[in-house]
Symmetry: C2
Subunit: 303 residues, 2 copies
């Protein structure tokens, strides 16, 4: 078996994912576990990492590990203080070197990025942005990263100039699973026309958003609103108010969407309906590419 | 002990409350239990009622019970179909007579009110509106009932002309207790200035609402946002977008607020900041008064 030269790790709140790479940069294996930051105490990170990749380490040798994500937060493994915008996505120079009990590990955690006015933070997305920029040097425009907390970042001259976070994914989950709307919202399924109409309405008239949420429940009770239609309409109301608020980001610019297919599809639909040119990229690939760029920037990864 | 002549019941999703009244209309006792509709199967309602008030019934006699609220929903004790706006709050004529195993009970459930376009429903608030109108005949204006699902009702000529529901209270609970914001929001406390500023901002620029939610978390991380200030600001963002969307209701009209003091206080502050004249009334008193009006309209309560 080819020896693992270094390990790339994406450590979020709810997941831990690792890629094992050889000296030529080829991925030997991709592994994941549910041991996200949210489930771990400070002394649980090294054991969780060893559980996942310990068999790939070589006795007597040092395997560099490059980490991005919430593992670098104050409640994580070790705090990697935020870089402040405007800035390029942090490189390995700014990474936090973490002491480990296992001498075979040399763990570095990449910082997140913060913005003071208006206050905002990201941890993990900056590495996806770094990955995209390493593949598309000279890109000028906007990168949108849909997810639990969707980020919009304005990129110019290789730097994150400003960014804004919307809780759209978390609101969708709370409303569809934990609110009174749960009785009226299907667990899956989609309705393009219902999404498009609700999205456009909420974008242009935010009053539709505030009043429209309970309307989904009411229309199921007094009418015959289909739960799949209700699901698409809820998504439309939430993404519509987000797209409306993010207009200073996308208006007149090219938007790159980074995320899983299911997450980015409604954003693409909404932006294209506004005549906004959209490019789709794969989130996992950008994460790995960003970690790769950080690793390659190290002069001596074993130090 | 004076004999209970009839019983007024407010039966919501999460509570059951009963007033025992004598023949002169004096309240002999007020009791409550946690056996709300949400906790009961259909055959659990009569036992729950007997647990609470059974000792006040007289063997060989019939005690009328007038009920409002979610007990009349499809998932409740017995469905009392909605009246449709425009309509006066339903009276006892429209109440659903519910069969009971205990011959001492004569239970009636008042219907809720529905609106077809835009779809909306209420159950319980129509009885508070009836109570207010019985004390203020000829009232023309708007009644706002803050709560888990805040209702705005346009009242004219004794009828509910139209109404709109906002999930503001439920959104506040979900965001402050179950979202990532829970780390940054105090469980209690208030900041008038922070509320006023966030409310005004969200009302006039709804983009502030969408982007401002995660900002509460970010400002706690990169700044020093006080959790009490964050609590007031979250309330301001949510009530601000509601007040903005409800503008066609309150603009140029007198608004009556029905609700508990803590619930109505921020609405009063927000509406007064807009120059809107506001009158406060007590929710429990209006509920009881509405049930009283319904009971008194019965020709023969024991039938």
């Amino acid at each position: 078996m080819t020896q693992t030269d270094w390990i790339a790790v994406d450590w979020g709140t709810s997941h831990l994912r690792a890629w094992l790479l050889d000296a030529g940069g080829t991925v030997l294996d991709h592994r994941s576990s549910a041991k996200g930051m949210g489930t771990l105490e400070r002394d649980g990170f090294e054991p969780a990492l060893l559980d996942l990749v310990g068999d790939a380490l070589t006795d007597g040798a040092i395997t560099p590990v490059m980490v991005c994500g919430m593992a670098g937060s104050r409640q994580g493994w070790a705090e990697a203080p935020y870089a402040a915008v405007p800035c390029a996505p942090p490189t390995a120079d700014a990474a936090r070197l973490v002491g480990t009990n296992d001498p075979r590990l040399r763990v570095r955690i990449l910082p997140g990025v913060k913005q003071m006015h208006p206050a905002d933070v990201m941890r993990g997305e900056e590495t996806q942005i770094a990955g995209f920029l390493s593949l598309n040097p000279g890109f000028e425009g906007v990168i949108c990263l849909p997810g639990t907390h969707c980020k919009w970042a304005h990129i110019s001259a290789g730097e994150i100039v400003s960014f804004r976070t919307f809780m759209t994914g978390e609101l969708f989950a709370l409303l569809s699973k934990s609110s009174v709307l749960r009785h009226s919202i299907a667990a899956s399924g989609w309705d393009d026309a219902a999404f498009a109409e609700a999205c456009e309405d909420a974008m242009t008239r935010p009053a539709v958003f505030a009043g429209g949420l309970f309307g989904l429940r009411a229309e199921a009770l007094v009418g015959d609103l289909d739960p799949v239609t209700a699901r698409a309409r809820l998504s439309g109301l939430l993404i519509g108010i987000e797209i409306g608020a993010a207009k200073p980001y996308w208006l007149g610019r090219e938007v790159v969407l980074i995320g899983d297919d299911a997450l980015v599809a409604p954003y693409r639909q909404a932006l294209q309906a506004q005549g906004c040119p959209v490019t789709l990229t794969d989130a996992d690939r950008m994460t790995l590419q960003g970690l790769r760029a950080a690793h390659q920037s190290l002069k001596d990864p074993a130090q």
